[in-house]
Each structure stands twice: as structure tokens, then as C-alpha cells.
Amino acid sequence: MLPKRKTWRTTSILLVGIILLVGWQNVNAQEQEHGGISNSWLIMQAVPSVSWTSFPTRTHFSFEWEATPVLYSWGMTKLDPPVHFFFVTQPERFAGSIEFNVSTQLYTSQIGTSHWGFSGQLLAHLPLVERGEYVGLNLGVARYNIAGVSSNYIVGGFSTLFGFLHYNIKYSPVDKIWMHSIEFRFF
């Protein structure tokens, strides 16, 4: 089992490698007028996703704000550039992709006991039914810092309802922690 610092270094090298290796493919995408970050999109990013996360001790409701600094999509046509920064449509993600995303969570099980969480994930989305719109598989690794406690996790789960509904299991091999989450995601 890798020490935590080494895992992070490996993840970082993987991430940089992915960006360098595939970034040039955007040049090959047929030049088209494409969407992107608009003011209304920015405003809507303030609306958090909601989830229920079950820890070994109790289940927390949480709000989550997520951003996708980079995503590589391999399931789209040549008209669509494979590398996306922050702005990602549902099919670009769920028709087959690997992404690096970061998020901030606000967990609460009762008023007055809420706490913040922060995470970074390297997550692959594999389409299973209807190009991932009906059912998709999520696989990856994540690092969570919840209430000041950090752990690395292996992530696996499913998405459905056009990628809006997720069920993910996260397991920390070092700390032997299991997390189950049902997530209703806006992107």
C-alpha cells in the first residue's frame, strides 16, 4: 500500500500526463462554434448538488459545490474537442470520459453540528446503457478532507437519470473507512 504522500504524487503525475498527452487532440477537432461559460452558467454553478453520505457512525445530508478543471472525453464525435475545461455537458461526461474534479461540501446531520469537507477526484465515467444517459459506471480515486481529517479513497459506483443521480461507494484502504453516498448532481 502506498504512503499518502506517494499516492498524491502518483495522482499528480497521472493528471499532468493525461493533460499533456491528450491536450493536443483538441487541435484535431473540426473547428466549430461551441458553447462555453456564459453568465447564466456561472450563476447556476452556485446552486449546489445535494447528497446523503453514510459514514460508519452516522448519515449526513450535504450540499456540494463542484468544479471540473479538466475532463477528457472519448465518446463524442470529431466535431467536439476531447478536452474540456470547467464547462462540460452531460454527454461529454457520461458517454465516456476521465475527469479531475474538485469540490467543497457542507455536511450536516443536525443544525449546529455541520462541518466542511473538501475533495479532489480523478474519476472515469464508462457508459453502460444509452451512452451513459440511462446507466453509467463511475470508477476512480479521491482524496477527502472532512472536518479536518484527510483520507484517500477508491471510488466506484453508478449513475442514472442522465447523470443526475449517483450511487457511489468510497473506501479508504489505509484508514479502513467505507462511505456510501446517494448524490443528486447538478453540473
Binding site: E33, H34, S40, L79, P127, F162
Partner: protein, 318 residues
């Protein structure tokens, strides 16, 4: 610590208010009634189409149209085959239930030259249906459609900005502006930078066909199309109608469809986008068709407006 707790309480309270403000108007809207109506229909099987044409493609024909259902039509001009907004699946987007089978089996389409996608809604850009089609075809998409189109293995893909013309082997296909709404999942329509919907005008061997896709009525747009093209056949949507205050902005009702027909100055109109799926809050699947029949009789348009049955093929020019 107190400050932190107050801050957290404030954030949680604000978010609760935000979600309530989003959910409460949604619950009272037609959207929830539509979802409820759709769920009621999910367990039922679609009605069968008695006789499906096994070989819809001719060796050569002047002009023929086969209505597969909804906005799906096989148009053949000469030796070229065009398929509009193909949907053969039992649901559109998991929820909206097909009430009548597709008029032909997708496997009976053994030759296909062009697929025209008018917009990215589930009932017009159906991933499951596109997977069933022959691969040696060119797929035309509206502006922004590429961001919603997975790879299906077709020979080529083209995004069509308004008034852009694609030409190949004597075929001219022009994207023409219509009036509809953006997005695929609802909220994504809000942040679109441009219109992700279009109509198409197909020109080949002296024949011209207008496919309106899915549209509301906009006199300026349709009169302009009428000025630029001499249209033989117009495929124009006539449903859904209700709730009319909402639908009138994005869907033409039968009266407006006839007005579009007049504006584009077509010789023949074939109504589409009705009878196939649960749509809007129309009281029955035939509400729009019945209203159109009434108008046809009143205006003596029997020879010019052809209401096809699902699966019916009409040779308009032998």
C-alpha cells in the same frame, strides 16, 4: 465557534430557501402534471402498426415521404434517402412513453444518405435509435449539437448554423431558422449561448422539401423561407397544443401550422410531431389531428394537406 455556527446556519437556511423557491413553483407547474401523466403510461405497451412496409426504399422515385411517427420521416428524392429526427425507441428520454409503434423497423432501412437532426431534445436526438441505423450516412446537427452527440460511427457529421448550406453529390441541404427552445435536460437550455434548433430545406433533382422539425410560429422566419425557396413539400409539426399559454411560444398548433404552410408557400403539407408520444397536456393523442381535419375541411385544403397514418408511405412524384 458561535460565529462559525451562525454562518453555517445562515448558509443552510439560504440553501433551503433557494431549493424551496425552485421546487414549489415547479410542483404547481404543468411540468409535474406532464411527468405524472407520463409515468401513468409507462407500463403500457404501444399500439401496434398493422402493416409495416418491409422495403421502404425505392430504386428510384421522384419524391416520396414515409411517416415513421413523431418527427421521423423517410424522404426519398431520386436515389437519395433522408431520415429526419429518427426515434424508434419505446420511450423518449426514459419517461415519455411511445403510444404507437414506429411505422417501420429500423432494420428495413438498408440505405441511408443523410440524417437530419432538428434539435437535441430526447424525442429528436435519440441515442438508442441512432445506434440502430446504417453507418454509411452523414449526420447533420444544429449549432451546438456536437456537444450532445456521442460517436455513432457514421461516415461524417456536420454542424449547421442558420442559413448554412451543405452540398454534396448534387444534394443541397440548408439549415433554416425556426422557433423552439434550447437544451436537452431542462436547465442546460438556460445557459446556451446560441439557438440549438433548426429546420432544414432539402433540394435535389429539382425537388424541394422543408422539414420544420419542432417549432412555434414566427411569421418573419417562415415568410423569409418562403421567399428563398420554392418548396414542394413541407413537413410541419402540429402538436402539442396544451397548455396553450406555454406551448404557443415553442410549438405550432394546427392553425399556426397551416399559417406556416401558407408563409413558406409550399404546394403540399404533411403534418408531423403528433399522435406518437405523450406530449404536453393534450386531452388525447388525436386532439391536434382532429382539429387539423376540421380546418382542412373549412378551408378546402383536402388536396394540399395530407394526413398520413403512422407507417404510411406516399409517393408524391413518381
Amino acid at each position: 465557534m458561535n460565529v462559525k455556527n451562525h454562518l453555517l446556519r445562515f448558509i443552510l437556511f439560504s440553501l433551503t430557501v433557494l431549493y424551496c423557491s425552485m421546487i414549489i413553483p415547479g410542483c404547481s407547474s404543468f411540468f409535474i402534471r406532464f411527468i405524472t401523466k407520463s409515468f401513468e403510461d409507462l407500463p403500457s405497451s404501444p399500439d401496434t402498426v398493422a402493416t409495416k412496409i418491409a422495403h421502404p426504399i425505392f430504386q428510384n422515385v421522384g419524391l416520396s415521404v414515409l411517416w415513421v411517427g413523431h418527427a421521423t420521416c423517410i424522404i426519398q428524392i431520386g436515389d437519395k434517402i433522408f431520415l429526419t429526427d429518427p426515434i424508434f425507441t419505446e420511450t423518449a428520454g426514459m419517461i415519455s412513453k411511445r403510444r404507437i409503434e414506429a411505422g417501420i423497423l429500423p432494420s428495413s432501412i438498408d440505405k441511408l444518405d443523410y440524417i437530419l437532426i432538428s434539435h437535441i431534445h430526447f424525442d429528436h436526438l435519440s441515442y438508442g435509435s441512432l445506434s440502430m441505423l446504417p453507418k454509411s450516412t452523414v449526420m447533420l446537427l444544429p449549432t451546438g449539437g456536437a456537444e450532445y452527440t456521442p460517436e455513432f460511427g457514421f461516415s461524417d457529421y456536420k454542424e449547421m448554423n442558420p442559413w448554412k448550406t451543405f452540398e454534396s453529390d448534387g444534394v443541397r441541404i440548408t439549415a433554416v431558422p425556426v422557433k423552439h427552445f434550447n437544451g436537452r435536460y431542462g436547465f442546460d437550455g438556460v445557459w446556451s449561448n446560441y439557438n440549438t434548433f433548426t429546420g432544414y430545406v432539402i433540394e435535389y433533382k429539382g425537388r424541394t422539401v422543408f422539414f420544420a422539425g419542432d417549432t412555434g410560429y414566427d411569421p418573419e422566419k417562415f415568410k423569409e423561407i418562403g421567399r428563398k425557396f420554392a418548396i414542394d413539400v413541407a413537413l410541419i409539426p402540429i402538436a402539442p397544443i396544451e397548455p396553450h399559454d406555454f406551448m404557443k411560444h415553442v410549438h405550432a398548433d394546427p392553425e399556426e401550422a397551416l399559417q406556416i404552410f401558407e408563409d413558406v408557400k409550399a404546394k403540399i403539407m404533411i403534418p408531423i410531431h403528433h399522435r406518437t408520444f405523450v406530449q404536453g397536456l393534450d386531452s388525447s393523442l388525436t386532439t391536434a389531428q382532429n382539429r387539423l381535419k376540421q380546418l382542412i375541411t373549412e378551408r378546402h385544403l383536402e388536396d394540399r394537406v395530407l394526413i398520413l397514418n403512422i407507417g404510411e408511405q406516399r409517393i408524391l412524384v413518381p
